[in-house]
Symmetry: C2
Subunit: 304 residues, 2 copies
Amino acid sequence: MSSLILALDFGGTKLSAAVTADSQTWLAHERHFSQPGATAVDDFRQMLTLAHKLLNGRSPQAVGVSFGGPVDFERGLVRLSHHVPGWENTPLRDWLTAEFNAPVWVDNDANVAALGEWRYGAGQGVDDLLYVTVSTGVGGGWVLNGRIWRGHEGMAGEIGHTVVAPDGPLCLCGKRGCVERMASGPYMAQDLAAAWGEEKRPFTKPVTGKRVAAEAAGGDPTAQRILLRGANALGLGLGNATNLINPARIILGGGVTKAGDLWWEELRRTVRATILPEVSVSLHPAQLGDDAPLWGAVALITAV
Amino acid sequence: MSSLILALDFGGTKLSAAVTADSQTWLAHERHFSQPGATAVDDFRQMLTLAHKLLNGRSPQAVGVSFGGPVDFERGLVRLSHHVPGWENTPLRDWLTAEFNAPVWVDNDANVAALGEWRYGAGQGVDDLLYVTVSTGVGGGWVLNGRIWRGHEGMAGEIGHTVVAPDGPLCLCGKRGCVERMASGPYMAQDLAAAWGEEKRPFTKPVTGKRVAAEAAGGDPTAQRILLRGANALGLGLGNATNLINPARIILGGGVTKAGDLWWEELRRTVRATILPEVSVSLHPAQLGDDAPLWGAVALITAV
C-alpha cells in the first residue's frame, strides 16, 4: 500500500501541489499561476494535471486540500471562491475521491494554515492558537485543543470583520471600522493614495501595502500614520480575541507582517494594552510561509 | 453508595447550596446572604454549615462548585474574589475534598452557568454556545463541543473587557470603550446620574441599572440613549465574538436583560449588523435564573 500523501492548495491566483512520504519533506512540489480568466473547472483540471505529474504514476494513500474560500468541511463542499467563478457548492471532496480513489479532506486555507503552523511551524508546543493572515484580506483560523475549531457553520476565525472602530471608515462588507478595513494591504494603500491625493503629492506607480510599509520606514509621516492605524486596529482585534478565548499563542502570516519593526511594535503594544492583566499571549511570525496550506493539508489527514 | 450530588455556589454576596439525587430536581435548596464584612474563611464556614444542614447526615457522591471569581480549574484553586477578601490562591477543591471525602470540581461562575444553561436551560440542543451575564459586570463563558472552553490560563470568556469603542469612556480596567463600561448596570446608572446632574434635573434615590431601564421605558430620552448605547456596545461585542467563533447560540442572563424590548431590539439589530452574511446565531434569554450556577455545578460533575 502506498504511503504517499498528496497535498493540494487552491489559492486565489495560484495552484500548488506537493507529495510527501514521511510528512517531513516534499518528494515533489510545484506551484503554478492559475490561468487568467480561469473558472473552477479550469483550475480543477489544471490541478489534476499538476498532481498526476508529481505522483508520476503512483497512487496517494490520502489527499489533503486547502481551498481559498469558505468550505463545508463535514460535507467536503466548496461554498464559493471570491476570486474564481464557478466554485459555488462544488463537491470538491467527491471529485477528488473519484479521481484518486483515496480518502480526501478539504478545508479553507486559514484553517488549514493554522493547523500547518501548529503542527510543523510557529505553533509547535502549545495546545491552542489563533493563526491570522494579514494580506489582501485579514483572515484567521483557530486550533483549540490540537484541532481546528470551525464553529457550527464552518465560519469561525473571521477576525478581519470584527469591528474595532464603529465610527471608522466604511468596509466593503457594509460595516464601519472592521479590522480588515484598516489593517489589510490594499486598504492601507488606498488610504495612503487618498491622503497623498489630498496633499497634491505626485505618485507615479500603484500604491501597494508593500509601498505603504516602505514609505513609512523611509519616514513619510502619512504612511506611518496609516501603517500604525492598521497595526493598532489589528492589535485591538487580536486583544479582543485573546480576552474571549485565551489562546496561548497568536501566529501572524501574510505580506503585511513584513512591514517592519514600527508595525510589530505597535501591534504588540496594542495587544498588551487590550488584554486583561491576568491574561497572557505570545505573538509569533508564521514560519511556513507560502507552504503553510500544503503542510496544513498534510496535517489535516494525519490529524483525523 | 450515596447517589447524592452536592452543588455549591459562592456568589459575591450570596451563598447557595442544593442537593440532588437525580440531577433533575432539588431535594433541598437554600440561599443565604453572606455576612457583611465576611472573609473567605467566614464564607467557607457558613457554606459548610449550610451544606451539612441540607445533607442531613448523608454523604455526597460528588461535589460541584461555582465560584464568583477566577479559578484555576485544573488545580482546584480559587485565584481571588473581587468581593470577598482572603480568597487569594485558596485550595478550595482540597478543602472540600477533605470535608466531604468525595471528588470535587470547582470552576468560575460564568463557565459553570454556561454549562448549566447548555445542559438544563436555554442552551439545550446545540453543541456550542456563548453564555453572557449582563449585570454588575459583563462576564461570559463558552461551551464548545459540549465542554467548557477555559483557554490556556482559564481566562476565556472575558467579553466584558473586549473593546468596541477605542475613543469611548474610560473603564475601571484602564481601557476605553470596553463592553462592560457601556453595557453593565452600574456604569449605565453612573452615566445617567452624570447626565441628569448636568441637566440640573433632581433625583432623590440612587440611580441603578434597573432605574435606567424603567426611565427609558417611561420615555426619558437620556435614559433611552444610555440604554441603547449599552445594548449597541454589547451587540458589537457579541457580533465580534460570533464572527470569531461561530457559536450556534448566545444565552443572555443577568439583571440588565430584564430591561425590556427597546434593549433587546437594539441588541439583536446590532448583532445582525455585525456578523457576516454567511454567519448566523440565535439569541436567547437564560432560563435557569439564579440557579444556573447550581445546575451548572451538577453538570460539571456529570460532564467529567
